[in-house]
Symmetry: C2
Subunit: 204 residues, 2 copies
């Protein structure tokens, strides 16, 4: 009675056979884990399979190469940049956007992405640059443009304020100061960027 | 008599033993040649020595490694950025400066530098990034600052116009649009950068 059903259940019920999205998620998580611990060079399909407690075939069935696997793990793992800040003023909105970009860049997948770029060869790097472009740059520019468009409507931003080069200034400064100055983007640095550059650039 | 001294001179007088700066220059030129033809991976100290018509020992005596040799060849070879444009107005001066930066970036050593960065490993890349910083970025920022300082004196530029972040905008946009958009910086693009961003940013 007390023993009947429960004691009969075999131990492996507790790690049930996972399928579809659940198994996929476990493999992608394991890939990010491997990147953080052994890096791009150390990561193997076997290691990822072991980390996800599945077989190598289950990994290869979905991703023909280590590169394909890692590209998707990073793409899916990067925190999304999709909320347009709406704090009532363009200065505060841009500061908020910068903080959102920092969250993405300094997330675990963000760090992993920079580390991979440091380790992989030039051809592979092109695919990872695409992940940065599609996951960080493109959405940032879109959000910046929307913030500036609203600023124009409020009369806070001059009419040319959404031109292509204007919308590129923040991501350009991010890339430049991260690479050239090794910046970690403390809040004061965001304020300097917005107050020294964006506010004067946008004023009507 | 007529034969004595001159006929006795051996053929190698015509490629005399070069020393010091002349030989050094020949080796550095040969290194740039090798970079353009066989790239970073293909470049060897033997190949450079052969190209410079000297022995391997003459190369190693001056540069203990291929990396040291190439760093100096690129550093010496990059066209200097040192004349402050003075065309009477900040818009024209900045356009002129952008053109000077383009000359440096698209010089033979400039191309070679980008190709090397594409080929070499991450540790070596750090030294080449320094060459870009010291040979392109740092002098550009210095010249931009001087142009803006003169603009402030003429009342053409607002008083905060030489702040650090302001002086970084042009090199940041250069780096970003070259990397992200694969830009080759046609004149119209310089004009867009200056007219959409720098002129509004600097106006008093």
């Amino acid at each position: 009675m007390a023993t009947s059903r429960w004691t009969a259940v075999p131990a492996r019920t507790f790690s049930p056979r996972r399928r579809g999205p659940v198994l996929e998620r476990a493999i992608l998580d394991a890939a990010l884990d491997q990147l953080s611990t052994v890096g791009w060079s150390g990561l193997t399909m076997e290691g990822v399979a072991a980390g996800a407690q599945t077989g190598k075939a289950a990994v290869y069935r979905r991703w023909p190469s280590k590169e394909d696997l890692v590209v998707q793990a990073l793409r899916d793992g990067l925190p999304r940049l999709d909320g347009v800040p709406d704090l009532g003023g363009v200065r505060e909105d841009l500061l908020q956007l910068c903080r959102q970009m920092r969250v993405t860049m300094f997330s675990r997948p963000g760090f992993a992405l920079r580390a991979v770029l440091h380790e992989c060869d030039a051809t592979t790097a092109e695919r990872f640059h695409e992940v940065i472009f599609e996951g960080v740059i493109e959405p940032s520019v879109k959000l910046i443009k929307e913030v500036l468009r609203r600023g124009i409507e409020r009369g806070e931003v001059r009419s040319g304020g959404t031109e292509a080069f204007v919308c590129d200034v923040i991501p350009a400064m991010f890339m430049y100061r991260t690479k050239v100055c090794g910046s970690e983007w403390r809040d004061e640095e965001f304020e300097a960027l917005i107050d020294q550059v964006m506010v004067p650039l946008l004023r009507p």
